[in-house]
Symmetry: C2
Subunit: 341 residues, 2 copies
């Protein structure tokens, strides 16, 4: 038997555990081309919240309906195969997370450009890093900084949600490349983590108006903003950016969890200051996966990059993991480790 | 004696003629380095409206105070000079419009990057074209299309306010470069002008929801949007853009005239579709003035580019010209011709 996390009812406002339910179904037998994967690690990412709403933005996957199983990036072991490209025992990354077993066919649908199951050779590395710093979180940070923002060592960069899976990588990669980095987060513990563990100037966005906190840490303004939050954070960035400044729109977690927001009221500063803003998803830049992995793996190996995980155990905890991550209660990459891992 | 158009009181809502007043002052004698210019043509541009509000966006000139004279691009003849770089009789462009006589010193302040008085050699061309297609309107259209949007002949482009000074140039330059162009405007007459005189697909934004009008003329979506309007037009563009689409933010006339607007509620489509948005002012790209003039003057000379002006006569009409232009009642470039022209 298999257990899937499914949408029980459409969330009103913030996601609660009661909006999700674990459903048990038999595992069907494989068709030609399919592989059966026993999931070992589930990636708990904010973007799935978008699909729980009644409608999704243009360009996004359609909304899930009550009864539908959630999907997400995951790692697992091939336990049965009718696909000659995969052997029993292979470690693969794929997009059918939030379940214990996944059947993935040759035409597996993609999530943000991540699609077909991919064989992973973790060598001596923790395999779950291929969902984090060596996987989509790493690629998102790398693409945002170096492709979208074209970051240089002369830049002062603000990273919001800097204690999150992507943010902590973006903040550290930027610092390692010589940029001046300011991070923001939503609790005193996270700010302490950013300051003491990552060595980054940081503030708690609850403490003072964002504009004051930014002016305090970057009196000359910022050159670039890595946006994981949207909403009032994006508004503050538009005000704080210097002429010709750049914004990478990576996500807008402040807007996912049932809060309808208008866009920034000061978007005209884009004209008055000649600003650039670009949205992106890492899945459109998979050609950069290998250079990213080389750079990030090197930093992890020599200890120059600190990585943090919040791990929940068992498929029964997947819904709690998602609720906690969306509420800002987790630090670093949020993962669900299945008993079989 | 000189007559200046001054701010009488801060406008509430739409600008009215009573918010402005014509003030007469004596012309002081020249200091060393200064020239006295008798203005012949005043450029009536929407952006001055921004400075009539209580505060201006970051990166912009400060607001005018009641009693202050309006400024703007203008052409005039040097009638007296204490600057060896200018001779009596020179035709110059400068930024002290909205007045009959201007005294411009060597440290004249700039407007959007346009600053020091510049000698113009109109040859056989109408001199006021150096405020329009061969001046800031031409450069704005050219920069927006080719520097900001990086337009190609494969693109489907939407130009809003396409019957305005910048829009009609942008729409035609794009078409001449082979792009598919859709223009929008705010009256049946303007739409007829766009269709019949410029040969461009066009719609009146009052007729139907913007998304329907766009879908009708560009069923496959648009690749690029030249924004002169902001507000609901920008929102519609975000919805209509294809993945990897681009937006040039040139101005936001819908937001200037006393209408406070929130930003687009669908800005997240920037992420989901990987869109790019960039604001600009032509004054940051004056190095492109010469290539722009060569291309545009060639099109004007051989009749491939249609140009339209709305001309008001006399400094007494400058305020009516500005009010009419902001209300969308003028087509093409709005100008005020002084009696001495």
């Amino acid at each position: 038997m298999n257990r899937h996390l499914c949408l029980a009812r459409r969330p009103v406002g913030k996601l609660s555990g009661a909006d999700l339910t674990l459903v048990e179904t038999p595992i069907p037998s494989l068709e030609p081309g399919e592989v059966l994967i026993r999931n070992t690690w589930l990636s708990i990412d904010p973007s799935i919240r978008i699909q729980l709403a009644e409608s999704t933005p243009d360009g996004y996957l359609p909304p899930l309906q009550p009864g539908d199983a959630l999907t997400g990036l995951a790692l697992g072991i091939v336990v049965e195969t009718r696909n000659p490209n995969f052997a029993t025992g292979d470690l693969v990354s794929h997009t059918l997370g939030y379940r214990e077993f996944a059947i993935v066919g040759p035409d597996a649908r993609t999530i943000g450009g991540y699609g077909a199951p991919t064989r992973i050779d973790p060598r001596a590395l923790p395999p779950q890093w291929f969902l984090g710093p060596l996987g989509s979180a790493g690629l998102t940070a790398y693409v945002g900084l170096f492709e979208i923002l074209e970051l240089t060592s002369a830049d002062t960069l603000w990273v919001s949600s800097a204690a999150g899976a992507v943010g902590l990588l973006a903040a550290q990669l930027a610092k390692l490349r010589g940029a001046t980095v300011i991070g923001s987060a939503g609790s005193p513990e996270k700010v302490t983590f950013l300051r003491d563990d990552l060595g980054i100037s940081a503030f708690d966005y609850h403490d003072d108006p964002l504009s004051e906190s930014l002016a305090g840490l970057a009196p000359g303004g910022i050159d670039a903003y890595f946006d994981n939050v949207g909403g009032d954070h994006l508004t503050a960035a538009l005000d704080a950016l210097c002429p010709q400044g750049r914004i990478a729109l990576c996500g807008a977690v402040s807007e996912y969890d049932g809060v309808a927001t208008a866009g920034p009221p000061n978007l005209f500063t884009m004209v008055s200051k000649g600003l650039r803003m670009r949205g992106f998803r890492a899945g459109s830049f998979t050609h950069l996966q290998e250079p990213m992995r080389q750079e990030v793996a090197g930093y992890l190996a020599d200890g120059r990059l600190t990585y943090r995980e919040s791990v929940f155990d068992g498929i029964e905890q997947a819904s709690a993991a998602l609720v906690a991550m969306l509420s800002g209660e987790t630090t670093g990459k949020t993962l669900c480790r299945l008993r079989s891992a």
